[in-house]
């Protein structure tokens, strides 16, 4: 088994190339620093060769802890006898910058006697604009194979696969002309090489600047940012709604077909209440997860996210954060876990720590089923302008903004009062080129995320649903939910949630949701299923409306769920990233107390207004 290292500058298209070479589905985006771990995958063409995808690095001379770990791992991999070759990925549209890093890699490979190949990526962009790279000239100058590839279109991939195999373990002789120990010499060499062999003219950079003039304009930039963010949240409802209706209809048809075939009794009740009522209620929301991941992916892939980080930098600085915090915060809108990993791109340790505080308050997709359910129960589904503006979408936008504002207020407060890790790193962010999104990886990523949501959260939901159903159904075979084992436990905990107008069923659903937020929907679906006893499944939102839940309690639930840290996985990943349980414990306790207090206050205020 041989290994090939894949290394390159951030945003050089390395992860997409890795996916092409291995057939794997690593997350790809158009902003610097997506790869945060070393991924490995067998070569599609030669399964005896494994590709190792290293995090992108600007330099082998590190300035942050994360870079140090990645670069040390690279040097360690170079010492590994199984490492047979190295591929350095260079973005040909920004050749000089890529070559500065490539020259450092050549130096390291020469030192460890490892053969190197340069993958000149994004050749499709040059071709589109009738620009050229003199690959043969560059190869001659560097004395290293230079293969023109397009990770996006797939051109040149086969040649790169062959070269990685044919070139492995070859005796390597590097030109002494390009081995420089001084970084200013390396810089001049890269500049000269780019000038001699790189594309001529400013076509690409001028097009990028024209778009930047609009998207970063003092007024138009801010307005377009707000419009894009608003459309993101509207799309969750308007694009996903037909598919959600479809899923609901399929579940309805299935229940109508299956339930009459089952003998009356516990099996039939279990299928109706726990399977269709509990798990079915959760499955309805999967299309929203898909749409959300797709739209966030489109923004990432287009290059817009880096501009959004620039727009947000000044406002975020007021709250102790940096523009770079925007990317992990927006990733957290899909899921807090990739958001926590993405926070590694925040190079300042203090700002990264503050970003960790904000991430659990970002409105993640696990909150989406809860929000959607409560909004569907309390907000009318009227819309204007062909679904562009709807009350439910506006309410969703409002609750998302609420979560974000809470996160910012927390970081502002902590930033003002804590002096921890005061030394800071300056804000320098590379602006990636604007690109049309690569649809296939985007859809694949959205599909994988939805699948992960169903399989991972689904297992927890299934287990909780079964336990809740058993406790709610026995000992009286579903005759009276209030007198079941669960009813007895629920009435014991009811006083905890009574201050914000919730009965014991909601209390039990909240308690189970501390495993994962979306469990709330499944638990509630099961409980209403047992209580209703009907074989026709009506939507959970209708059950909530019929239960006479006060509007203040609905709003209190929304507020509670937007603050409380009900996610075991988030706590575990935070522990892994920070190296101790201190921060996760602090966040869990403080956000639980804050959520409870804010929910109670919301209930009091809304009920006072409503009456």
């Amino acid at each position: 088994m041989s290994k090939t290292i894949l290394i390159g500058s951030p945003n050089s298209g390395k992860s997409l190339l890795f996916n092409r070479l291995t057939g794997l589905n690593q997350k790809v985006a158009n902003f610097p620093g997506v790869t945060v771990d070393i991924n490995s995958g067998k070569s599609l063409a030669h399964p005896d060769n494994v590709f190792l995808d290293f995090p992108g690095a600007y330099s082998l001379q590190t300035i942050s802890g994360e870079e140090k770990i990645a670069v040390e791992a690279f040097y360690l991999a170079l010492q590994d006898p199984q490492t047979s070759s190295v591929i350095c990925v260079v973005d040909v549209t920004r050749l000089e910058k890529g070559l500065i890093f490539a020259l450092q890699v050549i130096n390291a490979c020469a030192e460890h006697q490892k053969p190197l190949i340069i993958a000149a990526n994004m050749i499709d962009v040059l071709n589109q604009h009738s620009l050229n790279l003199d690959a043969a000239g560059l190869e001659k100058a560097l004395k290293v194979p230079v293969i023109e590839v397009s990770a996006k279109s797939g051109s040149g991939i086969e040649q790169l696969q062959e070269q990685a195999i044919n070139h492995r373990d070859l005796p390597t002789t590097y030109s002494s002309d390009i081995i420089a120990s001084d970084e200013s010499v390396t810089h001049r060499q890269a500049q000269q090489l780019a000038m001699n062999f790189g594309p001529k003219g400013d076509l690409l950079i001028n097009a990028q600047t024209r778009l930047d003039e609009f998207f970063l304009h003092s007024w138009f930039g801010g307005i377009s940012f707000l419009v894009i963010m608003y459309l993101l949240f509207q799309s969750i409802f308007t694009w996903a709604a037909p598919v959600m209706d479809g899923v609901e209809s399929i579940l309805q048809l299935m229940s109508e077909f299956i339930l009459p075939l089952l003998p009356a009794g516990a099996i039939s009740d279990f299928t109706a209440d726990a399977l269709f009522g509990g798990i079915g209620a959760f499955l309805v929301f999967v299309p929203q997860i898909f749409v959300l991941t797709l739209v966030v992916g489109m923004l990432e892939d287009s290059g817009y996210l880096a501009r959004a980080a620039v727009i947000c930098h000044k406002p975020l600085r007021l709250f102790g954060l940096t523009g770079k915090s925007f990317i992990p915060m927006l990733s957290s809108v899909a899921c807090a876990i990739p958001g926590i990993y993405a926070a590694r791109t925040v190079d300042s340790p203090r700002k990264r720590w503050l970003t960790y505080l904000a991430i659990p308050l970002m409105p993640c997709s696990a909150r989406l089923p809860v929000y959607s359910l409560l909004i569907a129960a309390f907000i009318p589904a009227t819309s204007m302008f062909g679904g562009l503006i709807g009350w439910q979408g506006l309410a969703m936008f409002g609750i998302y903004v609420f979560g974000i504002v809470c996160g910012l207020l927390v970081t502002a407060l902590v930033s003002k009062t804590s002096k921890a890790m005061q030394s800071d790193l300056p804000f320098v962010l590379e602006m990636p080129p604007y690109r049309l999104p690569s649809w296939r990886p985007l859809f694949r990523n959205a599909w994988n995320r939805s699948k992960h949501f169903v399989t991972k959260a689904g297992k927890v939901i299934f287990l909780v649903t079964v336990v809740i159903w058993l406790l709610g159904y026995f000992p009286n075979q579903g005759a009276s939910l209030g007198e079941s084992w669960l009813g007895q436990v629920g009435q014991w905990i009811e006083p905890v949630f009574a201050p914000f107008g919730l009965d014991w069923k909601y209390g039990v659903a909240i308690l189970t949701s501390f495993l994962a937020r979306e469990v709330f929907v499944g638990t509630l679906g099961t409980l209403f299923g047992i209580e209703g006893g009907e074989e026709n499944i009506i939507s959970l939102a209708e059950h909530i409306q019929n239960s006479g839940l006060p509007i203040g309690a609905g709003f209190a639930l929304l507020v509670f769920f937007s603050i409380a840290l009900q996610c075991v996985s988030t706590l575990a990943v935070l522990r892994r990233e920070t190296g101790s349980w201190r921060l996760p414990t602090q966040l869990f306790v403080s956000y639980s107390i804050l959520a409870y207090a804010a929910a109670w206050l919301t209930f009091v205020i809304v009920e006072a207004i409503a009456s």
Binding site: S59, I205, N206, H313, D424, V428, L429
Partner: protein, 97 residues
């Protein structure tokens, strides 16, 4: 004059770094192209103190005042042409020049 003082559409050559800038960041800025002798263009200068966009060869970076004000530049050379200028074009043997 510092890089932060550069007006949109103008260019200037990097002269040095403010002495308070840590050496590791100095190295990183140099690697990104903010290298003494390099011509930098300010391509976008939004109002309200937002980070500005600077072009170095074929790359564009956004820098805020906390870092751009640590890079000393010479006097600006008027309207940027948008063309990269290799100011320290060293010779390189065997490059096929």
């Amino acid at each position: 004059m510092t890089l932060w003082d550069l007006k949109q559409g103008t260019s200037a050559t990097v002269q040095s770094f403010v002495s308070s800038l840590e050496s590791s960041y100095r190295t990183r800025l140099s690697e990104l192209g903010f290298h003494p002798g390099e011509l930098i263009s300010c391509v976008l200068s939004p109002s309200l103190g937002a980070p500005k966009l600077y072009r170095v060869n074929n790359s564009v970076y956004s820098l805020d005042d906390s870092v751009a004000s640590l890079i000393k530049v010479g006097s600006s050379v008027g309207k940027s042409t948008g063309t990269s200028v290799g100011s320290m074009a060293g010779s390189l043997a065997g490059t096929g020049e």
